[in-house]
Amino acid sequence: MNLINGPMLKTLIVGAGMGGLRTAESLRRYKYPGQIQILGDEWHMPYNRPPLSKELLAKDQDLDQVSFPIRHDDLNAEFSLGDSVQQLSLEQQSVTLQSGKKIEFDFLVAATGLRSRKLVFPNNSQNGRFALRTFDDAKAIRQAAESGKDVVILGTGFIGLEVAATLKGLGCRVKIVAMEDIPLGLVLGESFGKEILRRHESKGIDFYLSNRVIDLVGDSAITHVKLVDGQTLTCDIFIEAIGSEANVEWLEGNELDLSDGLLTDSSLRAVKNNGTSVSNLFAVGDIARYPNLRFGLPPRRIEHWNIPLESSKRTAREIVHQILPGSIVGFENESGFNPMPTFWSDQFDISILSFGDLRLADENRLLEGSLDGEFAFGYYKNESLVAVAGVGMKSTIHSLRKEIAT
């Protein structure tokens, strides 16, 4: 690596979300001496996404309710917003923006997160059609979601279920269509998922499971959706909540593995196709695909809120260590990046909390409580506990966390 900016070295952070902001904060915390510039394609300063499907949507809150507080004096970082990065050149240590601007860097942090996946239908009308990833998305849904409207949500993941519950609370008629036969069944297990389904149905949400939307109906605006089983559902608002794709196109052409996010080593440094690590390119947050150290399984991305936080800290320490070796106490003994994932989800009065990596499990058991009330499940791989998740029972879930093998 070549420190092209000499003593005024520069770290460029692409993506002005939580991961981007927290990287800048951590760099300052670890006494990084150079310049920091944060580039974002949204016009907004970094904000917190989880409320978008919950409080913000329910209460029609404004951006200031979800913006992260920033101490600009301490941060001393330049924000350039509303301009997306189009192309990285690792060789030239520079990025090119949509506006044509070119910016050079010494260190680059990729924190561009994900975008919602959208389907293409024979009638691909967009009017009345939504997805939820950004503040602007949430505002658009809220504006359309008047009481009495017919909402069809595609997908039974966390975001689909949360939006369903919130819009039901606003008086909409809500239907959910999904290919799965049990909501969250693949994530949380069959009995857990069935109970979630039961509770949503008891609140008046209609499910069309093991099913699929094959086309939209309506000329200027969507009026109905057609299902693969022949049914047609009335629909004013169609929301696609079928997962996401990583924003990695700007990294293409640099011999990186972009098959699912940006592949890194266990220090979050990008890995080239030939297996070598790039010492000045890091991935932070939802786009980082990092190795699984404990079970030796293929590297994976984890789309939970604490990952941007942990990965930004780790990346900042690594950068500062490269610039000022020895300045970070204990760095030499640091093991690979392997934090405990955690997430929560609120749907109606169902409050789900989880620790650990659920996807590792090959078996699950009800450990405490009963399905019709509060409960906690344990998830196992080769008989060792790899995750816990439950509804309510927060103290129990917290105490089980200690037993999780990470």
Binding site: L309, G392, S395
Partner: protein, 63 residues
């Protein structure tokens, strides 16, 4: 010393803050958050970390 304020309207009692500053935050036996309203300077970094990790962004440090 500095003061700590948690917006109890926002707090959902997930307890993520507990891991960053176990001397300041805890979940009681009813799964509700309890915390100390002021702390010694030595706890400042921990409480900052709690404020960062709080999913509801409910924790405020008041100087």
């Amino acid at each position: 010393m500095f003061k700590i304020k948690v917006d109890m309207e926002k707090c959902q009692h997930y307890g993520q803050c507990v891991y960053e500053a176990p001397n300041i935050f805890k979940l009681n036996e009813n799964d509700k958050l309890e915390y100390l309203a002021s702390a010694d300077e030595s706890e400042r970094d921990n409480v900052k970390a709690s404020a960062d990790i709080c999913p509801m962004q409910a924790i405020q440090i008041i100087d």
